[in-house]
């Protein structure tokens, strides 16, 4: 096993994929600097810098994929998808159906997401539930370097559109760029196991839509993804001192959602807390509640620790609006009392 940082793993897996498949290319703003190593290896035909024109280059990515290429379109921050959502909402997601199942769109959208570094409400959203709401889109959110590399390969190998979200607290270059800016006197709550870790000697993809049990337990299931799984693991450690045994499920994929893993775990623990950095209402956490209700897994205790408001600029308020360990602990203890 070798050790890599989160972003390093993504780049390493991407290099591997681009070396083996000449149809893969990248396109987006500032990729000549953001992906300079890929530019150095593959040249500017395959690492294409664009103007600030997301609606055009994402829309173009859709048809480039339909023409047989394997585009990876970069949207700098998922918040900026607002200006280009049509390409996903009305095109990438629907063409397979409209064509009677005859024309697929093997597109990857690579984008950064998430908060915790003081950048305010237009730069720190997660939005994965919002995207997964659209039938025909797959959405994946890795939580550690090994998954980051392997899931990127899954996204690239998929014959259908996949949104791949890298959290800015895990990807060191994003945090340096948007958070620290080279300063040594600011620090953020970066989960170490997410930022750096062992990765396979040889990159291989993981199955699409499969969750991962990070910790087994009997009393409560914490269902999460991205940076929040690390908050869950920290909470689980603390709760174990109170003799509360916690299972932590890393969903990896918002869509397709691993229903089976959710049902199996909750059938055992009968208590579940969804810890989701995305917005609470009408999203992933509600979807999980619906699945459990539909499967008649009752009686259970259900709760959620999610983002309920516009993310405030104030760091202290921000830390409380985003899911954190204390909020998880408070709810878990309430369940067991």
């Amino acid at each position: 096993m070798r050790k890599m940082e989160f972003a390093e793993a993504i780049e390493s897996a991407l290099k591997h994929a681009m070396t083996n498949d000449p149809d893969i290319f990248l396109m987006g703003e500032d990729v000549h600097t953001l992906r300079i190593n890929l530019l150095a290896q593959f040249g500017k035909e395959r690492v294409i810098s664009t103007s600030i024109s997301e609606s055009a280059f994402l829309g173009a990515g859709v048809t480039a994929a339909m023409a047989g290429l394997r585009p990876i379109i970069e949207i700098m921050l998922i918040d900026f998808i607002g200006v280009a959502i049509d390409a996903l909402l009305n095109h990438a997601s629907k063409i397979l159906t409209f064509s009677g199942g005859k024309w697929n769109v093997p597109l990857v959208v690579r984008t950064s997401c998430g908060g915790g570094y003081g950048d305010g409400g237009q730069h720190e959203q997660s939005l994965w539930g919002w995207l997964a709401h659209i039938p025909g889109l797959h959405v994946v959110v890795p939580s550690n370097p090994s998954d980051a590399g392997q899931l990127l390969l899954s996204a690239i190998e998929s014959d259908h559109p996949v949104i791949y979200l890298e959290h800015k607290l895990l990807a060191d270059y994003w945090l340096d760029y948007m958070g620290t800016g080279g300063r040594e006197n600011v620090s953020f709550d970066v989960p170490e196991k997410g930022a750096i870790g062992e990765v396979p000697e040889k990159w291989e993809s993981l199955p699409i839509g499969k969750a991962n049990i990070l910790r087994e337990g009997d009393d409560i299931t914490l269902i999460s993804l991205g940076v929040s799984v690390h908050r869950c693991l920290e909470a689980a450690n603390i709760l174990s001192e109170d003799e509360i045994s916690v299972e932590v499920l890393d969903l990896r994929w918002v869509s397709p959602l691993d229903k089976e893993a959710i049902i199996t775990s909750v059938s055992k623990t009968k208590r579940v807390i969804v810890v989701d950095e995305d917005y609470m209402r009408f999203g992933l956490s509600g979807e999980i509640a619906a699945i459990l209700a539909e499967e008649n897994i009752s009686p259970i205790q259900f709760g959620r620790v999610c983002t309920e408001h516009t993310i405030p600029f104030n760091r202290h308020l921000e830390d409380n609006v985003l899911p954190n360990v204390n909020r998880i602990l408070a709810l878990a203890r309430k369940f067991k009392s």
């Binding site: 703003e29 300079i36 950048d119 300063r183 006197n185 600029f313 104030n314």
Partner: protein
């Protein structure tokens, strides 16, 4: 050309210097780690903002981009409340909830946004409201040249033109969009593009506040008349701090050993990787990026600085300028001291 009164020149100087000095304080706070996240400054574009705002009257609206501090200061927003906002304080302009990219002031009709191009539709809406309400007011949109390839801004040009709306579009052109040279990703000529929408458009040296003032002086009657028309000004400028504080391209120049060291290892490996594009193409791709880093250095020069420029050309106002400087520094120093004391006191509670 209208002859500019001395009073106007001094007012422009004071506006520019106030914004500049405040942003210097902001820089210190950011460097000390008191301000989180990104911090985009308007240092270098003060002449453009001052030259435009000098012509505005009460009731005019301004939509800014991510460099919102200068327009907010020059339009008269309380400096203390701005500083507190940058620190995320509950007593800040937006209760610490917005931060520097998301400043709003309802009373003065000032908005900002971190979404590139969004000042276009924003100003169109304000202009629509003034026309609807039959006032003489106008709306100003500030944006960078990089935004001129964003669909919603181009759509706004058409909307303003076809609906005859009093929008003053101000394109602040530094030819950079983060690490991209805008001319390398832009087809055609911006002014031709704007004229294609039927909008009168002109260029101006944005480091010369008097030239900007004159240009807007010509535009204003077209905007405020009974049947108004939009107007477009492309004003050149240089951002001394690059894209934002801690700009990675500028860091290469400020501490080359530390920054370049981290990059060159993996980079050499990639160029020499046994599989990939043709070697000559790889090398030229990389040398292009290195040339880009070299070009970034030009931003560090103060040769186009709007404040120095005015000082140089208006030497007969030297004494008045010096007095203004003293006055501004004294005022802002006392505000920033008060703010820092407050923050420190609260931190120790």
């Amino acid at each position: 050309m209208t002859l500019m009164r001395e009073k106007t020149i001094l007012e422009l100087y004071e506006a520019m210097y106030t914004s500049r000095y405040l942003e210097k304080i902001v820089t210190q706070l950011w460097e000390k780690g008191n301000i989180y996240g990104e911090m985009h400054l308007g240092i270098g574009e003060e002449a453009i903002i001052a030259g435009v705002l000098s012509h505005l009257i009460p009731g005019d609206a301004i939509s800014t981009d991510h460099r919102s501090t200068p327009p907010f200061v020059m339009r008269g927003v309380d400096i203390e409340s701005l500083l507190l906002e940058f620190l995320g304080h509950p007593k800040g302009l937006c209760s610490g909830l917005g931060g520097h990219m998301h400043l709003f002031c309802k009373e003065l009709l000032l908005t900002s946004s971190g979404i590139v191009g969004s000042s276009g539709p924003s100003a169109v809406g304000f202009a629509l409201a003034t026309k609807y309400q039959k006032t003489k007011n106008i709306a100003v949109a500030f944006f960078g040249e990089g935004s001129m390839n964003q669909g919603m801004l181009l759509e706004s040009l058409n909307l303003a033109s076809s609906l005859n709306l009093p929008v003053l579009f101000i394109c602040k052109d530094n030819n950079w969009a983060i690490t991209t040279r805008s001319n390398e990703v832009t087809g055609g000529v911006l002014l031709d593009r704007v004229r294609g929408f039927g909008i009168e458009a002109r260029e101006v040296d944005g480091s010369d506040c008097m030239a900007v003032w004159q240009a807007v002086e010509t535009a204003i009657p077209r905007l405020r008349k009974r049947n108004p028309a939009p107007y477009f000004i492309q004003a050149s400028c240089t951002h001394n701090e690059g894209h934002f504080l801690g700009d990675p391209l500028l860091r290469f120049h400020r501490s080359p050993k530390k920054e370049l060291g981290a990059v060159t290892g993996p980079l050499t490996k990639s160029v020499l990787h046994y599989k990939g594009g043709r070697l000559d193409k790889r090398i030229s791709s990389v040398s292009n990026v290195l040339a880009l880093i070299a070009k970034a250095r030009a931003q560090l020069s103060f040769s186009n600085d709007p404040i120095r420029r005015l000082e140089k050309t208006q030497t007969h106002l030297k004494d008045q300028f010096a007095q203004i400087k003293l006055k501004v520094e004294k005022k802002i120093n006392s505000i920033s001291e008060r703010v820092l004391n407050l923050v420190q006191e609260e931190a120790s509670l």
